[in-house]
Amino acid sequence: MKSSRAAWWFLAPLLCLVAVFAIYPLVRMLVLSFTTQNLETQFAPVFAGAANYQRAWHDSHFWETVLRTLVFTVTAVGLELLLGLAAALALHHSFVGRGLARTAALVPWVLPSSALALGWIWIFNDQFGVLNDLLQRGGLLSSPVAWLGHPGSAFAAVILADVWKTTPFLTLLLLAGLQTIPTELYAASALDGASRWQQFRHITLPLLRPVIFVAVLFRTLQSFGIFDLVYVMTGGGPGGATETVALYTYRNFMRYLDFGYGAALLVISSGILALLTAALWLLVGRGRSLS
């Protein structure tokens, strides 16, 4: 009895902080989404029922950003997983400089995204950029390209920047996962005449699935909410070609000062995130609890 009371005293500061600075904001967003609070109402909250949601439903610009963010997320996380898995398998079997590889892998992960975004602008620069120079030297490009000046290439550039930053992180997670697989399994299956591919398909992949699920879930949520990299690298441009949900929502709050509508967009995005989580759960994570 006494011990249980102590237990809750120890949890009290945590619960206070979480309640005030995490739970309250979530509730506040939900409430705000049912009001109109903008320039027209002189920032006084006016109950609006589902008007914000109806407006969002017909806001084709919003749904374009949702679709774009989904394409971004699927492409970026897919590439990261493929590259990360390949790198992890390669590094797992190599004994040279694993510590060095681990330190290097932390460099992209640790860099501030906003700083990194500026770095990429410079690398992708049309006149003086190093990427154009390298591609021209390699004979892959005949004249310089303004990578961030065209919708398609700007979108690809943002994906590349994101893949660069997060692949090493995924590599580290998968490498740690690989190290938990007992080597006897491979030895035994080799005796049974299993090929390298069969071993990968029937031992490595199934045993790695829990790690892949956590990594992909974490990356999907992060990627769908991406803000800083895009905000600094392209500002959503050119012509809105790289505008993500978070950027559009931020604009509704801080530029259009349309708080009720911004809140509704956030609630809808959270719903989409919940659907994504459920989809991932069904695809990869079945049979495993989150904690």
Binding site: S3, S4, A6, A7, W8, F10, P13, L14, L15, L17, V18, F21, Y24, P25, M29, A87, A90, S94, F95, V96, L100, A101, A104, L106, V107, P108, V110, L111, P112, S114, A115, L116, A117, G119, W120, I123, F128, V130, D133, W164, T167, L172, L173, L175, G177, V214, L221, F224, G225, F227, D228, Y250, M254, F259, A263, L266, S270, L273, L290, S291
Partner: protein, 277 residues
């Protein structure tokens, strides 16, 4: 004889991996050491003809870059200390005192950590405005500490479980209360776990962008991640690339030092949640 090619292949793989990880930052480093004239030569030079530290000096002489670094350091340190102070007793409670409903608390923490920062920023901004705390470091310290609680608590719970319970039983015998056991017996044994948590929280706080962008409108109050994004020259067509390169290096420097010294800890901290869970 067969080992040689395998060795060669793994060296090549490693080199490729290192190049992928380091090249973009390396290019900023090279740029930051070039003169303005050399930065705008076509084709670009891959190592400066003449090394210069002018861009680094300019950041401190012509801009309050030292101030930005200090702001980031102060806010990140404050957030780290607050986060640890709150997470440590909570994690101890969940790991050892196991109150009824403890699992619900852990589930709540995980649920909260799934939302991106943009979900929280506006209500927090309202609070900051209401309390008149815009531009004040506390407006970021408290939210950063809160956002990092899930990671800190879950990591520390796992760490506390590795400490033998016999130590606490001895403490109870000696008449120490739960608080005494935590501060006198558990904490001294937990230095490694606390250090790992502190490093991860510090890095996350240093790198946060969205709240820092919104809550600190005044230039001298800015953190380095936001200040760097607003570096500009006379017009958008003449961005000071040398200074930007130098600023990128400097904004990353404290974190690179942490990575260099605590590589093992950081990797262990990052991978633990995904592999043991």
């Amino acid at each position: 004889m067969k080992r040689l090619p395998i060795r060669l292949v793994s060296v090549l793989l490693l080199t490729g991996f290192l190049a992928w990880c380091l090249a973009p930052l390396w290019w900023q480093f090279v740029t930051s050491l070039k003169s303005d004239a050399e930065i705008t030569t076509v084709p670009p030079t891959y190592w400066p003809h003449r090394l210069t530290t002018d861009h680094y000096a300019a950041l401190f002489e012509r801009r309050p870059f030292g101030r930005y670094l200090w702001n980031s350091f102060f806010i990140s340190t404050g957030a780290t200390l607050l986060c640890l102070a709150v997470a440590t007793p909570a994690a101890y409670s969940l790991a050892r005192l196991r109150p009824k409903g403890g699992r619900a608390v852990a589930a709540l923490l995980i649920a909260v950590s799934l939302f991106p920062a943009i979900t929280f920023f506006f209500p927090l901004y309202e609070m900051v405005r209401f309390l008149g705390l815009a531009n004040h470091p506390i407006s970021l310290i408290v939210p950063y500490a809160t956002f990092n609680l899930p990671l800190a608590v879950l990591f520390l719970v796992a760490f506390f479980r590795t400490i033998p319970p016999a130590i606490e039983e001895a403490g109870l015998m000696d008449g120490l209360g739960r608080l005494g056991i935590l501060t006198r017996l558990i904490l001294p044994l937990s230095a490694p776990g606390l250090a790992t948590t502190a490093i991860l929280v510090f890095i996350a706080s240093w790198n946060e962008f969205l709240l820092a962008l919104t809550f600190l409108p005044r230039d001298e109050a800015r953190t380095v991640t936001v200040a760097i994004a607003s570096l500009s020259g006379g017009s958008i067509y003449e961005l000071p690339w040398g200074q930007i390169g130098a600023a990128i290096l400097l904004s990353a420097a404290p974190l690179l030092v942490l990575v260099a010294f605590f590589q093992r800890r950081i990797v262990a901290g990052l991978t633990q949640s995904a592999t043991t869970g």
